[in-house]
Symmetry: C2
Subunit: 238 residues, 2 copies
C-alpha cells in the first residue's frame, strides 16, 4: 500500500522546510516535481526514483504522482506551501482511492515578508497576477477591492514576458487609494540563490526590477519604513 505526500518545501533552502516535510521526503521512494524545484532538494534524492517535468506540465505530474502512489511512498513537491497556488488542489481534484496527506510549508509571501521586516502584520491578501487560468478583469477587480479595503497586498507571479504591463496597471489601481510614499517591497528569490531585496514606494516603483521569481508586497495606509525595514504596525500602543 502506497501513499502520496503533497509537500510544501518552503522558499527553497533545506533549513526552511518543516521537519515533517523533510521526513516525508526521506521516507519517499519517489519524488515528483518541476525540474527547477527538484534541484532544490537534490541532497535528499539519493537512491530515490525522480519524476520531473517542465513548466505547465502540472496535470501530467499529478497524474503520475497519483499512479505511483498506489504501491509506493511518493512525495510531490511545491515550493512555498503546496496549498497556495501549489499542487495540493489539483491532486485533491484528481485523487480517487489514493491516500493523500498535505504537508504545509512556509509560503512565498511569508518568506519575503520576513526578509523585508514585518509588512504582513495586519489584514492582508494574496493575489496572483497570472491570467493563465483567471480572467484579467477579475484580477483587476480584486486589486481594486483590496486597495479600497486597505489590505496589505502580496502579488504572486507578478510579471512575465507574456504580460509585462499587468503589474504596472495593478500598481496604478492601488495608487488611487494609497499615498505616494506607501512602502513597496520586492523580494527576488527569497531565501534561495540569487536573493535580492528592493525597497521602494508606490511613487518610485519600477516594474522592470520584477520578474516571475519575485514577490511584491504593498503596504497598507499605516505601513512605514524604519532603517530600511518595512513595518506594518498591528496597533500596539508604545
Amino acid at each position: 500500500m502506497g501513499k502520496l505526500y503533497v509537500v510544501g518545501i518552503g522558499p527553497g533552502g533545506l533549513q526552511d522546510m518543516t521537519l515533517k516535510a523533510r521526513r516525508a521526503l526521506e521516507e519517499s521512494e519517489v519524488i515528483v516535481g518541476y525540474t527547477k524545484y527538484i534541484k532544490m532538494v537534490e541532497e535528499l534524492l539519493k537512491g530515490k526514483e525522480v519524476f520531473e517535468t517542465g513548466m505547465k506540465k502540472e496535470v501530467d505530474r499529478c497524474k503520475r504522482a497519483l499512479e505511483l502512489s498506489k504501491d509506493k511512498v511518493v512525495s510531490i513537491i511545491s515550493t512555498g506551501d503546496s496549498g497556495i497556488y501549489g499542487m495540493a488542489g489539483l491532486i485533491l481534484e484528481m485523487k480517487k482511492e489514493e491516500i493523500v496527506e498535505i504537508i504545509p510549508g512556509v509560503t512565498s509571501s511569508i518568506a519575503a515578508a520576513a526578509l523585508l521586516g514585518s509588512p504582513l502584520m495586519h489584514d492582508n491578501c494574496s493575489i496572483s497576477l497570472s491570467d493563465l487560468m483567471t480572467p484579467y478583469d477579475l484580477i483587476k477587480k480584486r486589486v481594486l477591492l483590496a486597495a479600497e479595503g486597505d489590505f496589505v497586498i502580496s502579488f504572486y507571479n507578478p510579471r512575465s514576458k507574456g504580460r509585462p504591463y499587468y503589474l504596472r496597471e495593478c500598481i496604478n489601481i492601488i495608487r488611487k487609494y494609497r499615498k505616494n510614499n506607501t512602502p513597496v517591497g520586492i523580494v527576488k528569490n527569497a531565501m534561495r540563490e540569487g536573493e535580492e531585496i528592493i525597497i521602494s514606494t508606490l511613487k518610485d516603483f519600477d516594474e522592470t526590477k520584477v520578474d516571475m521569481m519575485s514577490m511584491v508586497i504593498i503596504g497598507n495606509s499605516n505601513t512605514f519604513m524604519k532603517d530600511n525595514i518595512m513595518i506594518t504596525p498591528r496597533g500596539y500602543k508604545l
Copy 2:
C-alpha cells in the same frame, strides 16, 4: 554580543517547525513567550532561561526580549508565523541597536487549510476579527470588500467572549455575496492537542462551534466539497 531571533514555531508540534526555527531555539540561551506557547516547545527548554507572561503582555515581553538580547542569544516565539499577527512587528518597532532576525513559520490559516483540503488554492485574504486594536467598522468593511472580490477568506481570532456576535455578523455580510452551499471550514487547534475539524456551509454555519483557538475559512464561488474535503480549484482543465 547577543542576538534576538523572532521565531514562528508553526501550528504547535515540534515537527511543524522549520529546521531553522528549531536551530534558533536550540542555540538560544533565553526563550521568551506567552505561557501557553512556551509549553509547546517544552522539550527544547532544558538548561535555558525562560521569560513567560500571560495574554496582553506583548509589549512587556518584547521589551524584555530586546533587553536580554544585548548580551545573550534570545528567541521570542509566536505560534504560526511571527510576521502575521505575531511578535515581529512590535519587535521591529521597538528595536534600536539590537540585532534581530525574523524566522518565518507556517501560519495558522495554512496549517488549517492543509487539514481541510486545499481551500486557499486561489486568491485569498486573512482578516482578524479582534477589535482590540482595529475599529470594528474597518473589520466589517474589509469583510464586505473581500466577499465582493470573491476572495477565499480566513478569519483569525474569530470569536471571543467579549465579542461573541462579530463572527455571525461577518458571516451574514458574506452570505449576501455567495451561495448558501459555499463550503466553510472550521479548524480548532490545528496540528496540536485537541484538534477538531468541522466542515459546514454558509447556510448551516454555527458560530457557537468556534472559539478563539479556531481558524474559519470561507470558500470562494468555485470552492466545492469532495468526500468531505474542501477544494478551491486553481482552474486547471482536467
